[in-house]
């Protein structure tokens, strides 16, 4: 396990100090860490555990239970493609295959150049505008493979 960078350690301590007085704070703490650092470093787990007076197993168990929390940094851009039924009914599977092929990675992976992470998502609540994807927090509806290419090129230009 990589040790926690000292500035990350400071961030984690500050987050825990801010939130530890709230009822049931662990998930709030993890959200704040991921919002700040982009992921929850495995080396942050013992620190969070000791600061919240929980066992490492409890913290590890929560981090790994929830799909949203990641233990490795994401790429510069994150593309989430909906895999659920409504999107499947209008070409969602073909769109998912196109995303994999275009980025050259499978779901849950990041491109070797660190530009894109590809994630599955099970419903974005945009089912009246299927198929849907979310790119860097922006929701897009009725996405065709051509439209997806255009969106990816657009964010890639921004670097």
């Amino acid at each position: 396990m990589e040790p926690l960078a000292s500035e990350h350690g400071e961030t984690v301590r500050r987050i825990v100090a801010d939130l530890k007085g709230r009822p049931g704070p662990l998930i709030e703490v993890l959200h704040a860490i991921q919002a700040q650092l982009g992921y929850v470093p495995p080396a942050a787990v013992p620190l969070v555990a000791s600061e919240l007076n929980l066992s490492r197993a409890e913290v590890h168990g929560v981090v790994t239970f929830y799909h949203y929390f990641r233990s490795t940094p994401a790429g510069a851009h994150t593309l989430s493609v909906c895999r659920a039924e409504s999107c499947q009914a209008v070409g969602g599977e073909a769109l998912a295959a196109h995303a994999r092929q275009r980025l050259g990675v499978d779901f849950h992976q990041t491109t070797p150049d660190g530009r894109f992470s590809l994630e599955p998502v099970y419903c974005l609540g945009n089912c009246a505008c299927s198929p849907a994807v979310m790119l860097d927090g922006q929701l897009h509806g009725r996405v065709t493979p051509e439209r997806l290419d255009a969106l990816l090129s657009e964010v890639d230009r921004k670097r």
């Binding site: 409504s86 099970y122 089912c127």
Partner: protein
């Protein structure tokens, strides 16, 4: 004169370019020297018309859609400021037949009001329910909710007032009101639309619930996939505190109610109420064994109301208009209205609120206009990923809790996903098992292991290997999961599989051996 234009900031409308349209309108108004008031409302739910732009005129709100940023200068040229004719003109928004024929009680303000404005909410009838509640006894409030016949809209359809009564009857002490906004079912988006378009109705509903049962703290458990709803809720909660509709002295009554949003972290199982409570406590979202019921021992071990967004947002209307008014809609034991979400392969997808008792056929063809692809509709899945597939031969079934239960289906949260005749039902059955395997909390074996075994058996069936033997195994496995699982995830994930086997057996048996 100030020009007032409405452009939705609903996530679905934004996903189709509403943000760019709003910018274009602001730019064009500036260029033409017009004073503009741009209101970012919710969506009216007619998504095939989004981005739907409305202009306030002396003849009411005139609608245009679907508008693109490129079409905006042309709208100004056509004098849309005064409701001028244009190819995108839809006439008065309220008179669009798809909307005008609906019975909007819960969604009356969604797409109409400015979601962040308490003043606008009050102008449109908001906080009338709470005003009445403050003059009523807690027992009378609970009786009104029981009398309305309102049942939990999250999917379980348990009578809301009975749940409240149980919490009210617990000894005084810390109690909680929690809102389950972990809307994870594919094909559903009514919670999202309501939270983005009229969040104050949810806030008012939770405040009423708190006063009715003696709870001073509310939590909204919101899924992390809904950033736009998070923003709208946070804004509306701050506005409600500012106007003293939340806090230590609700509407000058001396009664306290505090409310905050807690974010989920991408776990479908947290829509199950006991799992949601675990997650609110900051733990893994594993389901609890019931009893005790959450109404007796819920959040942090205290008596807790757990209701869905739509359930709570309907409460203000019931208290404002009266239990009889609400119960006057609907049929049989399904009273009131249901915000139905129509999605998938359908021409006119969106939100349709109607009294219970519409047929699937009316919904799919009169509102939906048939498939988007132009091919025949073959099946619909009603009630999310755990809901049964219903074949075209049963499209005359009524949308009602008991009627759908009668054909082996369930209404759930009211989401309906349409599929045309290209759908491979064996693959959809496999997906149901795959989804359960991904989302199982792991606590009980039938769900954790059964779903993975189910996926493997269906894979063999799809490959055409030992079809009859594997079909028998699959049916046995489905029975075991239904009977043996701890909660609805493992207990209902077999429903889509069993219904696919029952109505579309040919999709399983006619595979070519690979």
């Amino acid at each position: 004169m100030t020009l007032t234009v409405y452009v939705p900031r609903d996530a679905g409308a934004l996903s189709l370019g509403a943000g760019e349209v709003a910018h274009a309108i602001a730019r064009e108004a500036t260029a033409r020297g017009l004073e503009l008031q741009l209101i970012r409302n919710g969506s009216r739910g007619a998504y095939w018309l989004e981005p739907l732009v409305e202009v306030a005129t002396s003849h009411g709100r005139m609608a245009y859609g679907p508008v693109t940023a490129g079409a905006v200068p042309g709208l100004f040229d056509a004098d849309f400021q005064s409701g001028g004719a244009h190819p995108l003109s839809l006439g008065p928004a309220d008179a669009i037949p798809w909307l005008a024929s609906q019975q909007r009680l819960t969604f009356a303000r969604v797409g109409v009001v400015d979601p962040g404005s308490v003043a606008d909410y009050v102008i449109h009838g908001g906080y009338q329910g709470l005003r009445r509640v403050l003059a009523m006894s807690p027992e009378a409030v609970v009786e009104a909710v029981i009398g309305s016949g309102l049942r939990g809209r999250g999917g379980a359809a348990f009578p809301t007032g009975i749940k409240w009564k149980t919490v009210l009857e617990q000894p005084a002490g810390q109690k909680y009101v929690t809102c389950n906004a972990d809307e994870g079912d594919s094909g559903t988006f009514s919670d999202r639309m309501l939270m983005e378009g009229d969040p104050l109705s949810l806030i008012e509903g939770m405040t009423i619930a708190g006063l009715a049962v003696g709870a001073t703290q509310g939590y909204i458990y919101l899924r992390a996939e809904y950033p736009h709803a998070h923003h709208a809720l946070s804004q509306a909660i701050a506005a409600a505190y500012q106007a003293r509709y939340l806090g230590a002295d609700v509407m000058g009554s001396g009664k306290r109610f505090d409310l905050e949003v807690r974010l989920g972290a991408g776990a479908y199982i947290c829509g199950e109420e006991t799992s949601m409570l675990e997650s609110l406590e900051g733990k893994r979202g594993e389901v609890r064994v019931r009893p005790p019921l959450p109404a007796i021992k819920g959040l942090f071990g205290r008596p807790t109301i757990v209701n869905n967004v739509i359930t709570l947002a309907t409460v203000p209307t019931i208290l404002h208009r009266g239990a009889e008014y609400y119960a006057g809609y609907g049929m049989g034991k399904s009273r009131g209205t249901l915000p139905i979400q129509l999605a998938g392969n359908i021409k006119r997808a969106g939100l349709i609120e109607r009294a219970f008792g519409l047929t699937l056929r009316e919904l799919l063809y009169d509102y939906g206009g048939g498939s988007a692809s132009g091919r025949p509709l073959r099946a619909v899945q009603v009630g999310g990923p755990l809901g049964a597939y219903i074949p075209a031969s049963q499209f005359d079934t009524l949308i009602d809790y008991e009627a759908l239960g009668g054909i082996g289906g369930l209404l759930g949260h009211g989401g309906i996903v349409a599929f045309d005749d290209t759908v491979d039902m064996a693959r959809m059955a496999r997906y149901a098992m795959e989804f359960c395997a991904i989302e199982s909390c792991g606590k009980c074996t039938p769900c954790r292991i059964g779903s993975t075994r189910g996926m493997e058996v269906i894979d063999r069936i799809i490959e055409g290997r030992d079809t009859e033997d594997n079909l028998r195994k699959l049916e046995e496995l489905c029975d075991l999961m239904v009977q043996g699982s701890l909660c609805g995830l493992g207990g209902m994930a077999p429903f889509p599989v069993q219904s696919a086997l029952k109505h579309f057996r040919g999709d399983f048996t006619a595979r070519v051996q690979q």
